[in-house]
């Protein structure tokens, strides 16, 4: 089973990197540092449903590092890593403890919220200036929208994987 687990992790990491790189082509209409579609979140959610926490964090870590090195440079790695790991952890907690209350869409929105807020907090630290409150309203709305989109895609994917009994 360990080989199968490793294979799944590798497949998910590759997909996460590809999706995140593809996302860079899509222009973001909102001029706020850190706000993006967060398509990599789809893979994180799938990993949360089918794998353990260690594997989930490993996938996020590898994805953020590779994407940061390939595209944005090392300063931006601080953003993706803090936001990515923290949101993965929170989503994992929500899925394990509150799955009866929230659907994957809701959990995804929570993840997007944590991700975006963390990024603007890190931005405030780097800029030595509190930009959080100014951006918070747009951050909340964009989290709902992007979280809903990625959550819906993960939801569909997870259902399909379950139906075909792949995992």
């Amino acid at each position: 089973m360990n080989t199968k687990r490793n294979a799944i992790i590798i497949i998910l990491v590759c997909n996460a990197i590809l999706i995140s790189l593809l996302e860079l082509i899509i222009p973001v209409p909102i001029p706020i540092p850190g706000v993006k579609l967060g398509l990599g979140n789809i893979i994180t959610l799938i990993a949360i449903v089918f794998l353990d926490l260690k594997a989930v964090l490993l996938i996020v870590l590898l994805r953020c590092t590779v994407v940061a090195v390939l595209s944005k440079g090392l300063l931006m790695m601080a953003f993706s890593l803090t936001g990515g790991l923290l949101s993965a952890l929170i989503m994992w907690l929500f899925y394990k403890k509150l799955a009866g209350l929230f659907s994957l869409k809701g959990i995804s929105i929570v993840g997007a919220l944590v991700h975006n807020t963390t990024q603007v907090l890190v931005a405030s630290l780097i800029l030595h200036e509190l930009v959080v409150l100014y951006y918070l309203p747009i951050l909340l709305i964009s989290s709902v929208v992007t979280g809903f989109i990625t959550g819906s895609i993960s939801d569909l994917t997870v259902r399909e994987i379950r139906k075909r009994e792949i995992l």
């Binding site: 929230f102 809701g106 919220l113 800029l127 200036e129």
Partner: protein, 129 residues
Amino acid sequence: MNIRMFKKADLILIVGLVLLSGLILAWNTFSTSSKGGPVTAVITQNGTVLKTIDLASVQNPESLDVSQGFHQVILVEKGRICFSESDCRDKICVKSGWLTKIGDKAVCMPSKTVITLIGDHQEIDSIAY
């Protein structure tokens, strides 16, 4: 476990977030734009104030070179200011467009440069530290 539809908590979460953002937006608008008077633009880089400009007193359009590591230009006109050129990747700063009202803000993460518009009643120290 049924994961197909929305659950009650999802809807509460969404409605709550939308309401909260509306409230903060209203608060931000109310606490800043209701105050008239002169508008001052504060340009900070790396947390230190680079320049403060009284936007009403600008007569001729002026370009400020704030390049740090890469090419970046701020354009000042009477009553408004913006990042006009930047060689950063996302160009979030340029996309922010013209800043005209008290409370408006534009940020460039790669160069750590921020433009904020404040009213004359505000201290510079209260926005940059």
